[in-house]
């Protein structure tokens, strides 16, 4: 049994220390994920608390999980959707497909070696920030939260194949931004050095 499985078992057995540990380990990733969908830290705080409190209430009925992170992410995402949906009842007419995902990416300036690289990375950065939001979300979960495609499908409430496709499409469009622009840039640089 992995450490995570053990932690989960302690939690479902009603160990408050395990609950504290879950909060300590996953509070921040949850809050960061929540922020991508809702621009309201207090609301996110409330939702995270409710997720933990409700899991605690239902703990006797929870199945054993091997990966806790995707499980908690799923709970939080559903909770936020419910709240946004309810807002819709009263305020706007957004539908679930329009659940925002506002991840914003910047450039690791400190690791850029030279101007050529900077230009290339800026270009990619532009593409990443313009990805459709569901692709962005899949990428975020895959590469920044270490979820598997399977787990991403669960968290986002989509089919495994759809999740795989989202990541594939995102990377394909990033990849496609490479060769041509890459070459153009290289040529531009060469020109610069030749003349």
């Amino acid at each position: 049994m992995t450490e995570e499985e053990q932690l989960w078992r302690h939690f479902t057995n009603g160990d408050e220390k395990a609950l504290e540990e879950l909060i300590r380990l996953f509070g921040k990733p949850l809050a960061l994920y929540g922020r991508k969908m809702v621009k309201d830290d207090l609301l996110i705080q409330d939702c995270i608390q409710e997720v933990y409190i409700q899991l605690w209430q239902y703990r006797a009925n929870l199945r054993q999980v091997t990966e806790i992170r995707p499980y908690l992410f799923t709970c939080l995402r559903r909770k936020l959707i419910t709240i946004l949906k309810r807002e819709r009842l009263f305020v706007s007419t957004e539908n679930e497909e329009e659940l925002p995902f506002r991840a914003e990416f910047s450039i690791e300036e400190r690791l850029i070696e030279n101007e050529t690289e900077a230009a290339r990375v800026r270009l990619i950065n532009g593409y990443i920030n313009q990805l459709p939001k569901r692709q962005k979300e899949a990428i975020y979960l895959r590469f920044f939260e270490n979820l598997s495609n399977d787990e991403i499908a669960t968290v986002m409430g989509i089919k495994y194949q759809t999740a795989t496709n989202l990541i594939h499409e995102a990377l394909t469009s990033l990849r496609e931004s490479f060769p041509n622009k890459f070459t153009t840039l290289l040529l531009a640089c060469l020109d610069f050095f030749l003349y």
């Binding site: 609950l19 921040k28 830290d41 409190i53 209430q57 009925n61 559903r78 990375v121 990849r175």
Partner: protein, 371 residues
């Protein structure tokens, strides 16, 4: 390391050790395993370097969280589960109230149900806003307004309540760190900010939860609809279901409404149904005091300042006006609770100045300005 010969961009990206290598400086660390491998296998470096470029172009932008943000999550979650452990909250209130009325166990409790309501507030600002004394945890504070005017009530945590006629409230500070009020009737609350100690108002089936804000709850026993109006800040209103679902998938099946200023929430008790609507300034003032004119005073006679505050809250403030003749005040107030405002003003007038709340009236006591 054979496997890396099959690596494509996404495989590198998904590889935690690769990501760490990039963010630690990549090829700048020539001795690291990844650097050595790439230098030895330059033919395969193309995909790896594309992955590196993507990582360099994708640093998530994150604003820092407010200080204590995660500590609050921990405290409130643990507080809530510890409160749930008793699992008898509504009954608890009745039981506790009964015990108090019968035995009058708590000496500090200022109110005896047979007497007229009386609460004393000391003017030292620190006394009023001091964090709730933990030794007072689980003690109960009761107040009933059987008069026909609004009754100002100071809660032990420094929050102010305007209790409307025919209304009743009890307050306790739980061991879990929450401040809990049981309300029947109508009351305007100005809650002292204390992020680590949520303030909850229970009225019938409805729970209103806040951190530090001002709002009015209307929940008379015979009302078909309850209402909540927010003046400042944000509150969360819910109607917890008795029946707990068992699957985690149903976690979201909880009714919590987040309410902001200029909104009014109606709760239909029969159908357990919330309806939110915008509320205009005029209607708003039927629920909350109009304090727009009491935020800034410049060279204003002290007596006028107190009178104006009283008017804003719909209360009479008694004082010996002659003591303040020729005495002016310049001060800025924000949306602190009424009693905090009064404490600030009293301190500004002079060390001898304080106020008491007696028989539903506020009285300023003073030996004069700057004395």
């Amino acid at each position: 390391m054979k496997i890396y010969f099959d690596y494509k961009v996404q495989d590198y990206l998904a590889d935690e050790s690769f990501r760490r290598w990039v963010l630690d400086g990549g090829l700048r660390n020539q001795d690291s395993a990844w650097s050595r491998w790439l230098l030895q296998n330059p033919d395969y470096a193309g995909e790896a370097l594309k992955a590196r470029d993507i990582l360099l172009a994708a640093r998530p932008v994150e604003e820092p969280f407010e200080e204590g943000y995660f500590e609050t999550i921990r405290r409130e979650t643990l507080g809530a589960i510890q409160a749930n452990r008793r699992n008898v909250r509504p009954l608890w209130w009745q039981a506790a109230a009964a015990v108090l009325v019968v035995s009058g166990l708590l000496g500090w409790l200022l109110l005896d149900k047979t007497q007229s309501p009386e609460t004393v507030v000391v003017a030292q600002r620190d006394d009023v806003v001091a964090p709730p004394d933990t030794s007072a945890a689980n003690t109960v504070f009761l107040q009933k307004n059987s008069s026909d005017v609004i009754l100002p009530v100071a809660l032990p945590d420094g929050s102010s309540v305007l209790l409307h006629p025919g209304s009743e409230l009890s307050y306790r500070h739980t061991t879990g760190g929450t401040r809990e009020v049981q309300l029947t009737g109508k009351a305007f609350f100005e809650v002292t900010k204390n992020p680590s100690s949520p303030f909850l108002v229970y009225s019938g089936e409805m729970v209103t939860r806040v951190l530090g804000t001002s709002f009015t709850v209307t929940a008379y026993a015979n009302d078909a609809d309850f209402s909540v109006v927010v003046k400042t800040g944000q509150v969360a209103v819910s109607a917890p279901k008795e029946k707990m679902e068992t699957a985690a998938a149903d976690l979201d099946d909880q009714t919590t409404i987040h309410l902001v200023p200029n909104e009014q929430l109606f709760f239909n008790r029969k159908k357990s149904y919330f309806k939110r609507k915008e509320i205009n300034q005029r209607d708003m003032l039927r629920y909350v005091p109009d304090t727009r004119n009491v935020y800034a005073f410049e060279d204003k006679p002290v007596a006028d300042v107190f009178r104006q505050i009283g008017m804003a809250y719909g209360l009479d403030i008694d004082m010996e006006e002659s003591l303040f003749s020729g005495c002016e005040l310049t001060t800025n107030l924000t949306d602190e609770p009424l009693f905090e405002k009064l404490s600030i003003l009293c301190s500004a007038v002079g060390p001898s100045t304080s106020f008491v709340v007696k028989e539903g009236r506020i009285r300023v006591i003073s030996k004069g300005c700057n004395q």
